[in-house]
Amino acid sequence: MNLALAPETLARWQFGITTVYHFLFVPLTISLAALTAGLQTAWVRTEKEKYLRATKFWGKLFLINIAMGVVTGIVQEFQFGMNWSAYSRFVGDVFGAPLAFEALIAFFFESTFIGLWIFGWDKLPKRLHLACIWMVSIGTILSAYFILAANSWMQHPVGYRINKVKGRAELTDFWHVLTQNTALTQAFHTLTASFLTGGAFMVGISAYHLFRKKHIRVMKTSLRLGLVTVVIAGLLTAVSGDLLGKVMFKQQPMKMAAAEALWDGQSSAPFSIFAYGDVSKGHNTVELSVPGVLSFLADDDFSSYVPGINDTNKAEQQKYGPGDYRPIIPVTFWGFRWMIGFGMASFAIGLAGLWLTRKRFMLPDHLRVGEDEVPHLVLFREKALGPTLTTWYWRIAIWTLAFPLIANSWGWIFTEMGRQPWVVYGVLRTRDAVSPGVSQGEVITSMTVFTLLYAILAVVEVKLLAKYVKAGPPELSESDLNPPTRIGGDSHDADKPMAFSY
């Protein structure tokens, strides 16, 4: 089958669809693992039942989510070979190593200890069981780090040489690949954004219950944990985003010029809030911008020179030969804005929430509530928000759970699309990376199959999440409160049903 498409188009769509989908689950997995572990730690230390109920509730949502993250991750590992065999041959020597490290070190950790955690409630002593969820958490973070180091090498290849005889890139300095500033800042940015995502997820669901005055004790604790997470992670996401932006301005000026639709280089470059332009003519027709801010973002100096799309394109043509080195400008421009906009919106909602629900000692007597009451939302010293505004805040807080997910997706679309036409920046073009032996019909088949399957699973997963969200935290049973003291379970009753079974 021969369609009038560039050979890489379908493979790119498939990669985009499967990756964005996979990454809906990844940040939730990373953050919910750690947050659940934190709640379980609180239970083990304080023995307050609300913490155990919260652990069980968020743990359940975490498990529904990680199942999808794990299975969609398998595709990620194999589609390099399937659709991108030329890429795999060219970069395997360098790029394969962090991937293999990820599998050997992080995946094994994650998947073995998750099994122990799920089934271990009545098989492991309390502290050992707690250690298992922390192991899972460490596994998820390590996994993210290795894969981001691999991706960073595509953004900014280091620690390699080109072997002309073999026609491939070869690793010369693995440590450099793992610790280059692109990898460190990308990991910093992605991990903080992940916690923003999990925090917002917690805020949204707690707000849903508090708005309905249900499960108040557990949900109040969860709301505060979520809000604190959102605020700290949101702040760090912004800081790390700024750092990553500066790195990118140096390493991939084209991506950042495209992110700003800055056509011609200039000093005191403005930060564009809105732009509409003509790509073929290379300029914007409508533009709303704040002067100097872009220069500041790029270089910490309001007057610095920032290169534009047109001059970078010319510079790259001189360096790499004739061709068009511009990514799709509207996608990078808007992708960048949706990423920042949705991410920071959820940060702002979290910050507002943290203030509105502040601790008792900061409130006057008549606004303080008991442990089983929904907190008043207190804007100023003496006065709570009125009923309409209160309703609106809870509603917005519920919506915020989706915002970081949208921001994450656009972040990846931005950074990957912004690197085009390169798959490895400055080294390998995307069009040279596809599998020459795989027909377009085969790619269409797999893309259709994955898209349909993923769509069906999305419906299943969301319904399941909704069911368990609505059900609220479970009541605790006798065996929940009396964990075993011996590994393998206490054996006083050999026929006792398992605490958890599939």
């Binding site: 069980k56 590992e77 070979g81 065999s85 395997g92 070190i105 032996g437 379970g489 599939y502």
Partner: protein, 335 residues
Amino acid sequence: MQLHDVWFVLIAVLWIGYFFLEGFDFGVGILTRLLARDRLERRVLINTIGPVWDGNEVWLLSAGGATFAAFPDWYATLFSGFYLPLLVILVSLIVRGVAFEYRVKRPEESWQRNWETALFWTSLIPAFLWGVAFGNIVRGVKIDQHFEYVGDVWDLFNPFALLGGLVTLTLFTFHGAVFTALKTVGEIRERARRVALWVGLVTAVLAVLFLAWAQIDRGNGRSLVAMTVAVAALVAALVANRAGREGWSFAFSGITVVAAVAMLFLTLFPNVMPSTLNADWSLTVSNASSSPYTLKIMAWCAGVATPIVMLYQGWTYWVFRKRIGTQHIATEAAH
């Protein structure tokens, strides 16, 4: 022994680990139809592998990732060449993973039945297709001078590879039945032993045919030894099963898997994917491997990580060492 030979062995170890471990959990998945008589018994079977199947599956990801790093050309040719069968395997593994986690999350009869059906098929299909894939790797496929697979998908379903598929399918089912006998109590345990007997006999016939074919075609002294071990272990597993020695039976069915897969790798060496078009176009340990520097780093990583993984995965099996029966499955909706 050069580094790329070490890596050939390590890749073999990862695949052997995968087939040994996921082999029995595929088998248990298949037995949910062959062995279990009702939902409760199906749940007993599923729960024998509940805590461990995910860790077992990571051996595949490690084999894939390590092949990418150590033999990029092998990875590229294999996965782009076996495109559609691999797609089917991936879809199976996706649905299978979700089936484990989601089946119990709703009480409705139809919901649970659908996931159980899914679990059966998604265990059976990869159990068969992995054998087909390895049959083709050993036999060789149409690879051109650029290391690209130039055959079509039907070339992969040749008699030798199909026989290979049947061997992995029956062997994993046998391995699963023996595992079930070891991990359950009551009537299921008895039935598992009976099923193991006849599945084991079928496996023995198919495996002898397949391994002998491979041995005659491209075998050597070492592969003959491995083959002999595989066949002897299979017989021993059957004898132990008959004698009611379930632990021994499982150990021997495990050795069968290990030796059979090792034998295939031994017939393959020093090729990693032979070309049937021209012997010069075959992928070998030397022309398909990464640079010595990468191989060295990866060897350190795998050499340190794999034994540790075996330790903590082994510990998991010890934690969940108790046999399971219908009485251990809570009848009210699980949460």
